[in-house]
Point group: C2
Chain length 359, copies 2
């Protein structure tokens, strides 16, 4: 059966002050009316039912996540005691899935991306799932670049090896870390490079086999967890084992060395919304190019991303351009849109100032 | 005896969101640590004692004012049921003063100005007071312009007629409404024009005589109030009479037509701080030209005026220049410093939107 595994463990600081330790990006309505996690789940309806939808998140966020998506069975929301990157996350979900469904095929999807065309997304995902169900191997989706983006990792597809549901399925050649702008321009000009979307498809059993082969330390930990599932020692085992799991990504830790790795190029509008600037790009905007969320009044202003979170103050922007203004009950951020990456420095400065009350 | 009359009736909207109906500019710490009213009173110590210091303010602000300046006897804080411009305000204070001191000489001073040199201010005020005590007449102080300011009214002094405490005392020729920028430039180039400071000196009895001569309607109302002072009908009389007083300024309603009007040019640093831009100009600034009040963190920012009022959120500005950011518990304003006059439009827009909760 086809399952969806939503990786919702991030605790990003790039959307401060809206994002907090207890309110990470995926729980926020970035660039839309509903939280990213809710929109991510919405894209799976009706083709993947709630009982085959799994969410892996930070343990302390489990109650908030369960409250936010009550249609998902509570037991399908898995808590990681600590984050150990995506390889551990995907492996944890796989061992849990296999306990229910030894034949499970999984789509593994980040909770915090914005995707523009639900139908195109669905057909690509179904093609990827059908391909791995038939041919095995681990499959990733690569987004056709539309600009020389330096904020994404890239991947290099090899030759076309098959077709699935109208999509070309390539062998996967390699993953590439975020490039500098000259390299990104070259990738765009040359073609043959894709943005690394962080979305995957595989049989759960096959993922675990690759983990066993390439990451024996991770495999050992996951096997201990698998053995404890449904026993009285489950929680204790997870709490004990998880922190010792090796910290590595699916991309570089598993897929790049996999015996059989695939890649499907996709073209639906996609953003990992990594900054307020990116949020502005994907958000609905008025005739002046302003993206306004919550109680915001804009006078004679253009290109503004302004967000007042629930319970936050009314924001009034007047006579400004290309600015990000975000207000919560206890903090206000003002930064130029094209320098939104300064938020990381802001968070560091607040940490240094002992203002953890704001983080 | 010399008295000070502080005109504290303004209910400006130019410092929104810090200023509100119940919290006008003069009660705010604009451009400094203490409220403007407190700093205005501080300039009078120790040469005018609290019992000869009078404050005229809006009736509903009387409790707040009394609480803010507890050293002033409560009875010296006079409440106007409605604002009727400065002629009524000065006349009201005069009738009240005369009940205590028939020989009263008054300095009449706005509560909401910033003055840079306390000693120079005091010597000019004492010179003006001494002059009217000796020679009679109504006297105003004019500030020597340092730039072609279009935000101030001007006054035109006539020939020097006397000297007082080292100051030239001119006959006053006329008052001039706020000029356009070309005219303001000409005034600056020609010399012989002064900024209208709105500060005056006169014997209380003489002010009332001029009111009687030029503004019989105002005189009649003030006489009714005078007759009621100290009687059981005082409050009722003020409440009834005040709204019927003619609305005119001391400048154009009384001084311009006065039989004997003087003007002393002064040179102390002076600002009526009519905008957030002006507040920035008079405020202490850091090495990057930022004026930060309350909980504010500035990263890589220049020329910023940022104010978080008590109980307001922490403001973080990052990578911005020449911006005004003001935050209270319920509202945030972001406007370019050189367009701070947009605040008036903001207030109008909020009124129109029915957001009187924010006004």
């Amino acid at each position: 059966m086809l399952h969806a595994v939503i990786m919702a463990g991030g605790s990003g600081t790039r959307f401060w002050p809206a994002s907090r330790r207890e309110m990470p990006k995926q729980l926020l309505p970035i660039g839309g009316a509903e939280p990213l996690l809710v929109r991510t789940l919405g894209r799976l309806r009706p083709w993947i039912p709630p009982e085959r939808t799994w969410i892996v998140t930070t343990e302390r966020l489990v109650p908030a996540v369960r409250g936010m998506v009550p249609e998902i069975p509570g037991a399908n929301v898995l808590g990681e005691p600590v984050g150990r990157d995506t390889a551990a996350c995907a492996g944890f979900a796989a061992v849990r899935l296999l306990a229910d469904d030894p034949e499970a095929v999984c789509l593994v999807l980040p909770a915090d991306h914005v995707i523009g065309d639900g139908a195109a997304f669905r057909s690509a995902m179904e093609a990827g799932a059908a391909h791995v169900e038939r041919h095995g191997g681990l499959l990733t989706f690569g987004v056709r670049p539309t600009r020389p983006e330096t904020g994404y990792g890239y991947l290099r597809p090899g030759p076309v090896a098959a077709r699935a549901g109208g999509y070309a399925v390539h062998r996967l050649e390699r993953f590439i870390e975020k490039p500098d702008v000259d390299t990104a321009r070259r990738y765009l000009a040359e073609g043959g490079y894709l943005w690394n979307s962080g979305m995957f498809a595989w049989r759960a059993a096959e993922l675990l086999a690759e983990i066993r082969r390439q990451l024996p330390g991770l495999a050992e930990g996951l096997e201990a967890i698998a053995a404890s599932l449904g026993t009285p020692s489950e929680a204790e085992t997870i709490a004990r084992v998880y922190p010792s799991l090796p910290r590595t990504s699916v991309d570089f830790g598993i897929m790049e060395g996999a015996e059989l790795a695939w890649c499907i190029p996709v073209e639906f509008p996609w953003s990992d919304v990594g900054s307020w600037q990116a949020a502005w790009e994907v958000a609905p905007r008025d005739a002046d190019g302003n993206a306004l969320q919550g109680r915001v009044v804009a006078l004679d202003s253009k290109g503004v991303m302004a967000v007042s979170t629930p319970g936050g103050p009314t924001i009034v922007v007047a006579g400004v351009e290309d600015l990000v203004v975000v207000a919560t009950g206890d903090a206000v951020l003002v930064v130029p849109r094209d320098r939104a990456q300064l938020v990381r420095d802001v968070v560091k400065a607040l940490e240094k100032d002992g203002r953890s009350d704001l983080l």
